[in-house]
């Protein structure tokens, strides 16, 4: 009696387990596919990464002009002292 109970419990666990794993992953497949489709539809202008670069480069440009200004001021001062 005990052993047959154990076997049925094993069977139940197997049926339930495999059933659940498949259901869950099927849901995940559906959710993932939907998510990808939605995202790809709403983000046609390629996102994020690009605007960062010009911003960064203008920043360095700004720094450069400041630097040039500082250097020329220093040269100017130097020449005046002469």
């Amino acid at each position: 009696m005990h052993t047959t109970n154990l076997m049925t419990e094993g069977f139940n666990l197997m049926l339930m387990g495999m059933g659940f794993v498949f259901t869950f992953l099927t849901l995940l497949v559906i959710a993932t596919t939907l998510m990808s489709k939605t995202i790809l539809r709403f983000s046609k202008p390629e996102p994020v990464a690009k605007p960062v670069k010009p911003a960064a480069s203008t920043k360095t440009q700004g720094k450069n002009t400041e630097l040039i200004a500082a250097i020329s001021a220093a040269i100017h001062l130097h020449r005046q002292r002469k």
Binding site: T3, T4, L6, M7, E9, G10, F11, N12, L13, M14, M16, G17, M18, F20, V21, F22, T23, F24, L25, T26, L27, L28, V29, A31, T32, T33, M35, S36, I39, L40, S43, P47, V48
Partner: protein, 439 residues
């Protein structure tokens, strides 16, 4: 002369029992496998060494304070235990007293009295062994496997899976190995060969998930007494994946099938990668809360990686933190490699069933991939199905290697990574179902 005798009686050699000696030899061979054969050395080395420490005679590193007091069997302390239990120790000899006291404690079911005895042991000056402390902190609390899972999440790239979500089915099919093994384990106990209850059978089955932290997590909840054997089996077989899988894969496929070239995967946007772990977690929350600890930590690690805003956390999770945790997890598993838990017929059963679990998981993964290849327009090489057993990234590399044998121009690695990480999710879900059903 008396002093010399005392020194001799306190030595390890005098106290070494045969089972302890056998365990030390087993642990040395684990170290050999780790160091010379490079079998999952990151885990087998600390496990093997932990096992050595646990089997040092008289040191009692793997024992709790209470077990320690019983092992020493100091007459005064034992008298207090006997008074507590209402027993009379007639004091004829130590052995006679042991025969009175130990069975009574073993059959003690009242947790309050047991707790009081443990407090008495601490009061008498006994402390938990070092490995016992590690075990309590890392495994009994469930913390270490979960922290490792977070690190694995931070190392996982879901790109190939997102590019071809249907490979999730392969990760599901390969979990059949887990449940078939559960059935095998209860079958063996029905035949009277070994004695596993349903919880133990489930914990053994999870070896087929080919996922170390998941196996340890499930075993620590469902069958802590088998944890040593289960962890050793899981990690050794993971190292043996390149030997176990290819013959099964070759038998189940034709040469033409193995040579199938799969179409290039589409590029996956960053947003998809960021939303995916959140989507997984929402599904877990809705349908399977018992898998939430495992998959929650996994998704957290993955989100840290993909969001790109917490590189420092992601870096820590996949390097420093996972390494620290691995050391203590290994030692803690080693503390379960003591003779009375490991040298049993059950351990042989676990080793045998574990390899069957791997084999069946591989076979069902390949068969599922064949089925999907027949059903869908997009060609699917059946070899990627075997990667569904998880064992990241070893199983995917095996798929790639066997594929290259059939067609030297065919690189399956990226295609196999999809089912491979799907297998991780699949085994975590299977673990969640088992925990929900059995505890």
């Amino acid at each position: 002369m008396d002093k010399i005798l005392l020194l001799w009686e306190g030595s390890g050699l005098y106290n070494l029992s045969l089972p302890q000696f056998v365990m030390i030899v087993i642990c040395l061979s684990l170290l050999y496998l780790a160091i010379v054969k490079k079998f999952e050395p990151l885990l087998l080395l600390p496990i093997g060494f932990g096992g050595l420490l646990a089997n040092i005679p008289e040191a009692g590193l793997a024992l709790s304070a209470f077990e320690q007091s019983l092992a020493v069997f100091d007459p005064a302390v034992m008298q207090t235990y006997a008074d507590k239990l209402g027993l009379v120790l007639d004091g004829a000899s130590k052995a006679a007293n042991k025969e009175i006291l130990l069975p009574a404690i073993k059959s003690l079911e009242d947790p309050v009295i047991l707790q009081e005895l443990k407090t008495m042991a601490t009061a008498a000056g006994y402390t938990d062994g070092m490995l016992n402390t590690f075990y309590q902190i890392t495994i009994a609390s469930g913390a270490a496997p979960l922290i490792i899972f977070m690190g694995v999440g931070a190392m996982t790239d879901f790109g190939p899976l997102l590019a071809n979500p249907r490979t999730l089915f392969l990760g599901a099919a390969a979990q059949f190995g887990i449940f078939a093994t559960v059935l095998g384990a209860v079958g063996l106990s029905s035949l009277g060969i070994v004695d596993f209850n349903i919880n133990q059978a489930a914990a053994i089955g999870i070896i087929g998930g080919a996922d170390g932290p998941t196996a340890i997590y499930v075993a620590s909840i469902l069958a802590p007494e088998l944890l040593g054997a289960i962890a050793v089996a899981a990690y050794s077989y993971m190292a043996l994946v390149p030997l176990i899988q290819p013959p099964i894969m070759r038998v189940l496929t034709t040469k033409a099938e193995r040579a199938i070239v799969m179409s290039q995967l589409r590029p996956v946007t960053k947003r998809e990668k960021i939303i995916f772990p959140i989507a997984v977690l929402v599904l877990v929350a809705l349908f399977l809360p018992s898998a939430a600890p495992l998959l929650g930590m996994f998704c957290l690690g993955n989100l840290m990686r993909e969001s790109g805003v917490v590189d420092r956390l992601s870096d820590t999770a996949q390097n420093a933190l996972i390494n620290i945790t691995t050391i203590f997890l290994g030692l803690a598993v080693g503390s379960k490699l003591v003779a009375h838990l490991f040298l049993t017929i059950e351990t042989l059963g676990i080793l045998a069933l574990g390899i069957v679990a791997f084999g069946i998981g591989t076979a069902t993964g390949v068969l599922m991939a064949k089925l999907m290849n027949k059903m869908s327009k997009m060609p699917i090489n059946p070899l990627i199905g075997s990667a569904g057993v998880s064992a990241v990234p070893m199983a995917a590399r095996v798929s790639n290697k066997v594929g290259l044998e059939a067609n030297p121009q065919n690189f399956l690695l990226m295609h196999a990574m999809g089912p491979n990480v799907a297998g991780v999710i699949g085994s975590a879900v299977a673990a969640g179902v088992m925990i929900m059903y059995l505890s």
